[in-house]
Symmetry: none
Subunit: 403 residues, 2 copies
């Protein structure tokens, strides 16, 4: 893990600027032995030019062999050991839409589901109800009142919402109500420790009132809650790294984790790489660190769509000149984990890394950006949690240790 | 180290099968700068084909610069930090021949030695007395009785035996009696802590009775004890990794350490690679993890026999098709440490690793199995304790960490 005490001691303020460009699920696999991966198959003249000038390497997201979810994978990129800093999905979801979660609050991620007459789940995502249809249903939920606590409910996307309960003596040690399959009713909220029994009761009370309010709905007539959690109190970017950091991301989860580490989450329209890079340009003077997140590489990987993932990678490469025109001092292009389209899921494979820093990089012998070259790259293969110190160093933001 | 709690949390049962093929002391050195190592000099068409399809890397047995003994080196391969899990040689020796050591027992490794008339050691290995000559001597020792404790003695091989003392309040914190040289008498058992004084006394009493019984022996008229230790209570493979694991090894030490981590130690005849691979075949349906250990690569290295080590490596390569015919999902070929024949001893050099997993491996640019290529391999250079999680991942036996 990044040694936060050492970073605090060594960090210095400079005017240099760092861009961390994450292509979600970037790492891939070849379709057949000896063939190219998605990144290797993609036509990426801009990446390749940077690869030639910069240096390549491989990041291990969590530890060898461990496949990360998106939350832990991003925490690792930001320098936090995700095994030590266990951030609940509820907190990530709530934070991602700007719903504040304070120490002692309990946040959960909610899904609307469709129940049949006897209360068993027939669709765990309520027919993927459209956002515009779900918003009024969430508004119903936000009218629920429970004595002694305050409850905030916010819509996230389609069938998803976030709920945060605030009050005294609440505990997040609660089991999910999502049975993870259809044909059975949602589970009650169960306390996983003695201290959390009252919290379980309060959430069950809320669910009971919600059920009454949703009874008349066609599709979203039920709900499940999961990922009960509270503010993990993560060390903040400004304190640890001395960075004034911005998050440019479309999806709530990534915005959530960025908020938790103290980044300013920028609001914007559009979801193409060019839209995100335009926002970086608009905000260029305000921040010294830009976390820019591209989701669709991962989505195409999970769809098993090799060509689609190739196209998303190429779209980022095409838009890159706009980012380069800002003249960042350091630009890292990598992923949070691998999502090989051959496997259709996240995987444990190391993630290709391209580090470019015209003033300070020691370039290696590699000339194109791809997994095979990254495995031979000058930066070597190292834990994702060591990336942040490396970015700071190349930006001249770390002093010498010792005399 | 492999994070056991994380492994326990993420492990899943599948029908996939893993083979960990250890060529003891595999890593080598070239005889002259630029020349090939033993592995590089060997003609290994099967290894090389797998190298082309799979990926290479290097394992660091303990930590950079630290030369391991065989026990710690294997513990590391199995995912246990051998600095944290200190398993005594006595326990390894006893377990290796099926002599059970329970918590609170004290096991020691025994060597017969030859003493002259005034009791000084003139041969530390009793002229490497043959097994058939040593067995009746061990039988004499097993007649010794000491009040309050029970003592089991079993022959191991040639001049070596194991002794286990069982009783109340025994402590293994005892110093070796082997002075590690001739011309001096064996040392008395010395307590290394206050609590172990009674245990020292009991062992000294046993040694005194043994001396009387051995007085008439020609060569094995004395003995030394070392590696006093008790059951370290290692986490078990089934619990930690969810594996039903088999050990196929000829030598007691390797069988012992496998037993201690919860593997089933398979009995069989023969000591050639083909014998061991045949046993894997016979037991293929019963287990999902096969630790297969080849000793002679190390022995030849310790003999300083470069060509002999090359021949042993080639023998394994020749027999390999039998193992591949079983269609394992994951096959790792590596060593526990390096034993360069040029040095004639174990060394700290990283150990070449070949990982093959047709469905999940990300192949690298390397096409033959050897130290130079492994240093450039796609898996990078990493601690041996991370190998197990990597094997599980490639076999689809680990779930995603976090959402």
């Amino acid at each position: 893990m990044a040694n936060f005490n050492l970073m605090r001691e060594l960090k210095i303020q400079t005017s240099s600027k760092i861009i961390l460009l994450i292509l979600d699920g970037l790492g891939g696999l070849s379709v057949e032995p000896g063939g190219p991966t998605e990144l290797e198959a993609a036509h990426t003249p801009n990446f390749d030019r940077l690869a030639k000038q910069g240096a390549l390497g491989q990041l291990i997201p969590i530890s060898p062999g461990v496949t990360p979810g998106s939350g832990p994978a991003h925490l690792a990129l930001f320098g936090y050991n995700p095994v030590e800093y266990d951030v609940g999905r509820g907190v990530l979801e709530a934070s991602g839409i700007g719903l504040k979660v304070y120490k002692g609050d309990v946040a959960a991620r909610g899904n609307f589901c469709t129940l049949d007459d006897d209360g068993t789940i027939i669709d765990r995502r309520a027919g993927r109800i459209a956002t515009e249809d779900a918003i009024p249903v969430v508004e119903k939920l936000s009218t629920i009142e429970i004595p002694e606590v305050k409850i905030d409910v916010e819509h996230v996307k389609e069938y998803r919402f976030a709920v945060v309960m605030r009050g005294n003596d609440l505990m997040p040690d609660l089991d999910d109500t999502d049975p993870q399959r259809t044909g059975v009713p949602p589970l009650p909220v169960k306390a996983l420790s003695q201290g959390s029994e009252r919290s379980a009761q309060l959430f069950n009370e809320w669910i009971s009132k919600a059920k009454d309010l949703l009874a008349s709905e066609q599709r979203a007539n039920g709900l499940t809650l999961r990922g009960f959690s509270t503010d993990p109190g993560l060390p903040q970017f400004a304190d640890v790294y001395g960075l004034n950091a911005a998050c440019i991301a479309v999806y709530p989860m990534y915005r959530g984790v960025s908020h938790l580490v103290g980044m300013q989450v920028v609001n914007f329209q559009g979801d193409r790489p060019a839209d995100e890079f335009g926002i970086a340009q608009e905000n260029w003077k305000k921040y010294d660190f830009f976390f820019t997140h591209i989701k669709k590489t991962d989505s195409k990987g999970e769809d098993g769509d090799f060509e689609g993932k190739v196209a998303e990678i190429e779209a980022v490469d095409s838009a890159l000149p706009e980012l380069l025109a800002l003249e960042p001092d350091v630009l890292a292009i990598t992923g949070d984990h691998s999502t090989p389209s051959r496997m259709k899921v996240h995987s444990w494979h190391p993630v290709p890394l391209l580090l470019w820093a015209p003033d300070t990089i020691r370039s290696d012998a590699q000339t194109t950006f791809g997994e095979t070259n990254c495995a031979r790259g000058g930066l070597g293969t190292f834990p994702a949690t060591s990336l942040m110190p490396l970015l700071l160093a190349h930006a001249g933001k770390l002093e010498k240790f010792g005399a």
